[in-house]
Amino acid sequence: MAELICRALRDGALDGEHAPALTIKDSIDSPFGPHVFNHVLAQLSANILAAKSQSQGLVLVASSQSPSFYFDLLKSRGNDVASFHKWLRVLDCYTDPLGWKVRLMACGSISSRSPEASNTVRLCTDVRNLDNLSLSIMELGRELVGQGKGRFSVAIDSASEMIRHASISSVAALLSNLRSHDQVSCAFWLLHSDLHDVRVTAALEYMSSMLGSIEPMNRPANVQRGNSENLSLFEQNSNKGKFHVRLKRRNGRVRLMNEEFCIEQSSIKFTAVSSEDGIISQGLVPKVQFNLQLSEKERIERAKVVLPFEHQGTGKPIEIYDGRQSLNESSTESTNSSSAEKVQTNQDPGKGEIIYFRDSDDEMPDSDEDPDDDLDI
């Protein structure tokens, strides 16, 4: 499913349509949003570099990690540093988001460290002003693809940070403008859903054609910490989780998919969710060391076993009066069986025989009825 998302972002927007947008949503129970974000970012940049994607460049708005973190990340995925300036621009909202450092440098409190000379990074010192932010994103994008028909992608590493500094309506306006812009191929952003009201999360979800939500494998029923059962749940959730994807088509069709992921040393691995049957049988059968269920072969073999008390038939049809057949049938059958018995007796007179007539299903006596009522005492 993560593949599907990356493909959708790679394919980009159709003319006259909004650019596809992805919201990656996590919560503190499974705070792996950044891992998924980095995965999507790395995949998209690989596609851009291989010229497989519609977009020719990427503008990254970095507010929760420094630009150098992302350079290291992309470097570790085998991208060439020298080529960054051709396809990547970073709007640095991390280093000095509110202009404190500029203010302190101006009054000489701290030494002015010249930022790394680079045309890839642009510093933003007022993240509260979303109009400027939006303008900067567009300018950086145009630096990459020019004024023509070329398109670029936009990645926002923390929509939560943006919402903290500005109102939801202005953030929504910014994202909406991005999506409807002619030169934007796709956009994706990360959101910590538990930091915001439901309506804020919903507003951003409405604006995205894809939603990837990250959930823990198991939610503890009782939030009380220190419980050893909960502790093992937390341990289980500490590097694994579920990845739910919701895709909205243009015609309104919604597709839901599930996947599981596992965090490894430097990457994230997605695996298809284990089959439903597996989950159910695992759920019902208690976990014991021995096998409680039969395999198909064992089941067939069990059916073949002849129990010692069963009538063997000896090649003839088995005829036992079970007391429930009609009188006529039973009379004919009884004559048949008696003749058969006679034959048997004739054949082997030395053997005794027990003839057992099973009781018919008598009705149980009512509790207030005297069972000896018919006795003439």
Binding site: P31, T95, D96, W100, R164, G226, E264
Partner: protein
């Protein structure tokens, strides 16, 4: 000849299996110059003369040669200052959450002691900046003296900077240009002081590693006139010091002063920010004479190297704190 270094904790004091990967390494050499083998599982193939000395040392504080070893809390937290040979991501962010029944101050004291206690030779000294909104210098001095650590000496050696912020009040109604009022002025100055101290220490070639501690966030919020947004801005700027200078951060906060129905935004944001979250709580099963509370440590760093969840009990004594697994004391 091949030498294997594994996380066996082969120390002179006979420790075994307790030291985490990252915190010990192996030097082969004649005592002066040596060949460094990284911590964890490393292999050295080459000529090894009989006379060579094998050093096994830990990167931080308690060198194994001194007979010291990490307690349960240290093992759960891992190195406070990131292994300088491993990555450039710098230090880590440690968040201590406590509640009114169980104070988490002892964890902070432990981290103070661990940061400024004498280091093994050849390692760069650590500078500790303690921003205190809660207590005076003499309070920390008294407690740490009992724990065997003299902060006055460390202050004179320029390895300990104490910023007394008990009187900090953010000036009212500073205009931020858009007509909105902010109280962030005081916090900007405080941040300026911290960055200045870090710069001076690093530029002068003194300490290469810096640890910044804040005691505690709730009083910082009070100083910021209750604006958790400004507290978060301040913490964000502190976080940039981690990226720029490799500083480590440790914050103490109270979990139960926020609304119980919905977890506070501030607490959640801090948990997102933190690499290690330590929760100090009263004993879940009730009161006990020998157990003063329980600690849960969640370590989000280095997925393969550190235990992600640790849970143990503690008992605060006069001079130290005992940490032990539940049920291991009768």
């Amino acid at each position: 000849m091949e030498v294997w270094v594994r996380r066996m904790g082969v120390g002179k004091n006979g420790d075994s299996g307790l030291l985490p990967d990252d915190d010990f390494g192996l030097i082969l050499g004649d005592g002066e110059s040596g060949l460094l083998l990284a911590g964890g599982e490393s292999r050295f193939t080459g000529f090894l003369p009989w006379q060579c000395i094998v050093y096994i040392w830990s990167l931080e504080g308690t060198a194994m040669e001194n007979g010291g070893s990490w307690n349960l809390l240290d093992q759960a937290i891992g190195p406070l200052i990131e292994d300088p040979y491993a990555s450039r991501s710098g230090g880590s962010v440690v968040l201590i959450e406590d509640c009114v029944e169980t104070s988490g101050a002892f964890v902070l004291h432990h981290l103070i002691k661990r940061s400024i206690s004498p280091l093994p030779p050849h390692s760069s000294p650590v500078l500790l900046i303690l921003v205190s909104f809660a207590r005076s210098f003499s309070h920390y001095d008294r407690i740490l003296r009992k724990m065997g650590c003299n902060v006055v000496v460390q202050r004179d050696n320029k390895r300990f900077i104490f910023l007394d912020m008990r009187k900090l009040e953010c000036p009212e109604a500073m205009s931020d240009g858009d007509g909105g009022d902010t109280f962030e002025g005081g916090l900007v100055d405080l941040y300026g002081k911290i960055q200045k101290a870090v710069e001076v220490s690093i530029v002068n070639g003194g300490s290469r590693s810096v640890v910044i501690m804040i005691d505690d966030i709730s009083l910082l919020e009070v100083a910021a006139k209750g604006s958790s947004n400004h507290v978060l801005d301040f913490l964000h700027y502190c976080h940039t010091l981690k990226t720029d200078f490799g500083c480590s951060l440790a914050f103490l906060n109270h979990e139960d002063i926020y609304s119980s129905t919905e977890r506070s935004n501030l607490i959640l944001q801090m948990e997102y920010l933190a690499d290690v979250v330590i929760k100090a709580e009263p004993l879940a099963t009730g009161l006990a004479k020998d157990v003063h509370g329980q600690l849960t440590v969640m370590n989000k760093r280095n997925f393969d190297r550190w235990k992600k969840m640790s849970y143990f009990h503690f008992r605060v004594r006069e001079n130290n704190v005992e940490y032990f697994y539940p049920g291991s004391r009768t």
